[in-house]
């Protein structure tokens, strides 16, 4: 396996307030990697920095771009790129709070996902795949996205990200505010997306779901990584069980 994303000594601040204080970790190709942690630990800040919406004070984000058969073609530094260019390198961001374009229809939202692409056949293939993954969306294509239920909006946000055919998907709290049954649906979809070849960096508060879905986990605490390891080990760790899984 080879690294797809490597973050080194990343510092991000909002004005004088430091949000990330030297984060280093890497994501291997083909994995689901999860970042768990309490509110304010810096998980969302980290994702927003990787996708270019925030600029780091210091540190390096390296990304190894590859062609469709997985051959590494180039390495690039994401920390100096604008967000719209980062998408073109195959990094998609599913923002927190299932932000969809509320006044556009479901169809238009999905079309926006393929904004950077020109390969009509590939777009068609991904379109079919997304609708097969989320059959609920195909019933609602003409409806404006703002009128969807919370779960459907989350499916749309994920589907929209998939339409750019990403190699790395950054998912920010996909289970936020969803009913338990919908959480199961969304996580099943995440596993399927991963099985289809995309690498996933998953930020979650639902530590149990995240750790049972991902292979590698990082525990974030106030801007640093406190703990890391394979998920099955983290699930057994006393610290994690007490703090994030609510066990005594």
């Amino acid at each position: 396996m080879s690294a797809l994303l490597e973050v080194k000594d990343l510092h991000v601040a909002y004005g004088a307030i430091a949000a990330l204080k030297g984060i280093s970790f890497s994501v291997e190709r083909g994995q689901i990697v999860t970042l768990i942690g309490a509110n304010g630990a810096g998980k969302t800040t980290l994702l927003r920095t990787i996708s270019g919406l925030l600029r780091p004070r210091r540190g390096e984000i390296s990304y190894w771009d590859s062609d469709d058969i997985g051959k590494v073609s180039s390495s690039c530094s994401l920390s100096s790129l604008a967000p719209h260019l980062i998408v073109r390198h195959g990094v998609a961001h599913v923002p927190e709070g299932r932000i969809v374009f509320a006044n556009l229809s479901v169809r238009e939202n999905l079309q926006m996902g393929a904004y950077t692409r020109t390969d009509a056949d590939g777009i068609k293939a991904d379109w079919d795949w997304v609708l097969q993954l989320f059959p609920r969306l195909s019933e609602r294509l003409k409806q404006s996205a703002g009128t969807l239920s919370g779960g459907e909006q989350q499916m749309l946000a994920i589907g929209r990200a998939l339409m750019s055919r990403p190699r790395l998907i950054l998912m920010d709290e996909p289970s936020l505010g969803l009913s338990p049954i919908l959480v199961q649906t969304v996580f099943a979809a995440i596993r399927q997306i991963n099985a289809n070849g995309a690498t996933i960096l998953l930020v979650e508060q639902n530590a149990h779901m995240a750790l049972t879905t991902a292979q590698i986990g990082f525990v974030m605490e106030t801007g640093t990584i406190a703990l890391s390891g394979p998920c099955h080990e983290l699930l057994r760790s006393d610290d994690v069980r007490r703090t994030y899984l609510g066990e005594s």
Partner: protein, 337 residues
């Protein structure tokens, strides 16, 4: 099916056919009805046309791209003054010095008008570009204040520029324009905005109005699209200024204060942001209203403002609420195969 949003060749052709038809109707009207109604009503019609251009061009920035710009009068002033300067100092003297008969003179006059209007639009567009690149990084109310300040700066600079009249105003601008030109430009503005909105770029604009971060995460260059909308809006505002200059034959910076900008914002908001039809109707109604309310005499502006308040209370989403006029509203729907 994920159909790409591109304006096909046949639809470009259709657009031109429609525009040619529209131009024909406008010329026919100017030869007939406009002559019959008299100068007072003709002036109201012309102001409606100019206001439609202003409202639709601002709607592109405010309604479709969601950028709260309140400096539209500044672009209008810049376009008006630069086109007037070009005609007053260069083209009109040149035209007068030529020994021409009536017919040829009229033709050249129209050519000259087209040149100065375009120049006015370009001047405003360049200003839009220079102002837009730094300010469009700002969001919401900050952008509103920046554009407000920009409009006032343009106005004050013109006020202190002596060769265009300064505080006395710019006088003796040739009267080259009338009903036909005003509505040709208004029609062109509507068509350009409509086609832009239906294109991939237009979809990108509406996406960034909905959520700028999410739009950037889709791969949309948000700054470039915002600047593009801003520059195009400024271009048509400049053209509108040029039309006003060559109809009124007189320009004064007092007509381009921020209250003028606010008035254009009112057209857009009242018509419904994101609806071209709404902007057209609101511009027309709100231009006629102060005239129609002359019967109320000294209560005229009070009742005008009151009507605005009532309209906003009863229809906060605007007259059209983001929807567009469609032929199916008046024509029987064709049977679907």
């Amino acid at each position: 099916m994920p159909n790409r949003l591109t304006v096909s060749a046949s639809s470009t052709q259709r657009t031109f056919t429609w525009y040619a038809l529209y131009a024909l109707v406008i010329m026919l009207l100017s030869r007939t009805v406009v002559g019959w109604v008299g100068a007072y009503y003709e002036q109201i019609l012309i102001f409606i046309g100019i206001n439609i251009t202003l409202a639709v061009s601002l709607n592109l920035v405010l309604g479709f791209a969601g950028q709260f710009s309140i400096g539209h009068a500044g672009f209008m002033a810049l376009g008006g003054y630069s086109s007037a300067a070009l005609s007053y100092f260069v083209l009109n003297p040149a035209l007068m010095s030529l020994p021409l008969d009536g017919m040829l003179h009229a033709v050249l006059e129209n050519v000259a008008l087209a040149i100065v209007l375009f120049a006015g639009g370009i001047a405003a567009a360049i200003a839009g570009l220079l102002v837009g690149i730094p300010t469009l990084r700002l969001r919401g109310d900050y952008l509103a204040i920046a554009t407000l300040g920009m409009g006032e700066i343009i106005r004050v600079v013109i006020l202190n520029t002596n060769f265009v009249g300064g505080a006395r105003g710019f006088t003796d601008i040739p009267r080259w324009t009338g009903f036909t030109w005003v509505y040709l430009i208004a029609g062109a503005c509507v068509l350009v905005v409509r086609n832009l909105i239906a294109s991939t770029s237009g979809r990108a604009l509406t996406a960034l109005r909905e959520d700028e971060d999410a739009a950037a995460a889709m791969g949309i260059n948000t700054t470039r699209h915002k600047v593009m909308a801003f520059v195009l809006g400024a271009f048509f505002a400049g053209m509108a200024g040029g039309l006003l200059a060559h109809y009124m034959q007189y320009l004064h910076t007092n007509s381009f204060t921020f209250l003028r900008s606010i008035e254009i914002v009112v057209f857009v908001v009242l018509g419904g942001g994101g609806s071209i039809t709404g902007s057209i109707i609101a511009a027309a109604v709100l231009t006629v209203l102060p005239e129609a309310l002359r019967v109320a005499q000294s209560w005229r502006m009070v009742s005008y403002s009151l009507l605005l308040v009532i309209m906003m209370l009863t229809r906060p989403q605007g007259l059209m609420g983001g929807r567009e006029f469609h032929w199916s509203w008046i024509l029987p729907r064709r049977k679907q195969a």
